[in-house]
Amino acid sequence: MMGPGTTWYIAVAAVLFGIGTTGVILRRSPLIVLLSLEIMLNASNLALVGFSRQFASVDGQIFAICVMAVAAAEVVVGLGLIVAFTRRKMPLDVDTLTELRG
């Protein structure tokens, strides 16, 4: 087998996951939060694929494919909500959603 070992894959996946986490927590535009969520899911996919090669078991790849579909589903609902927000002229900012407050 050639190329970097699994450890490298997982390291990149962990860094990506961290980036995605930071984005979700930090950004206020729901659009970018959704994009950051995609990064988190993709980081998980990378880990799954890396481990899948590690064990020579296709389970991880299958998992990754299912995750892609799920990610698409989340995006559809998220974008639907964002469109509904815009239609009602509500501010697109997760922090200024003031109607509900802790």
């Binding site: 990149v12 990064i39 890396g50 494919i65 559809v76």
Partner: protein, 177 residues
């Protein structure tokens, strides 16, 4: 393909992956962020390919970068690219918290990896040629992972219903506005 070349491509893809990831969360304009995500997805596809996951890589390009991101771009275009400063707003502790959480997860996993690396992670099992081929994945989707396959379609169906329902302008809404 020589080993060195694989390494070079891998490192390039990994760097581009991380770089575009950072770009996604730091651009002001969601439009650029979405474009950066496409870059991120594409470089991930390269990594998938190098990990012998041809089918996943293809799906990544076709489904993700192709379909999902097009949808994203459509919506962003519909909204008219609102700007939002990446580090602005939000209480300061939240910003610090975000970094702490993000860094904690990274460090956690990398430390876990470092302690594990001596064990067995570096040496992968020998893989056969058919590993990760569409045929094998298809077979598994119809046997061991039949349920996963079916449920994925259910999830997509529910999301489709959701997209339609939320996207529609309703009677009550018309009266409320």
């Amino acid at each position: 393909m020589g080993n060195v070349l694989v390494w070079v491509i891998w490192v390039a893809a990994a760097l581009s992956c991380i770089g575009s990831g950072i770009a996604v969360i730091s651009f002001t304009n969601p439009f650029y962020s979405a474009l950066a995500l496409i870059g991120n997805l594409a470089s991930l596809a390269v990594l998938f390919l190098l990990a012998s996951a041809e089918f996943v890589a293809a799906a990544q390009i076709l489904v993700y970068a192709g379909a999902v991101m097009v949808m994203f771009l459509f919506v962003i275009a519909y909204l008219g690219g609102r700007a939002d400063a990446p580090w602005a707003g939000g209480p300061r502790w939240l910003q610090i918290g975000a970094f702490v959480v993000g860094a904690a997860i990274m460090i956690e996993v990398i430390v876990a990896l470092a302690t594990k690396a001596g064990g067995g992670l570096s040496n992968g099992t020998e893989i056969t040629r058919s590993f990760g081929s569409p045929a094998e994945i298809g077979r598994l989707f119809l046997t061991d992972h039949l349920l996963a396959f079916e449920i994925t379609s259910i999830v997509l169906l529910i999301a489709a219903v959701g997209g339609v329902v939320l996207g529609m302008k309703t009677q009550a809404e018309g009266e409320a506005s």
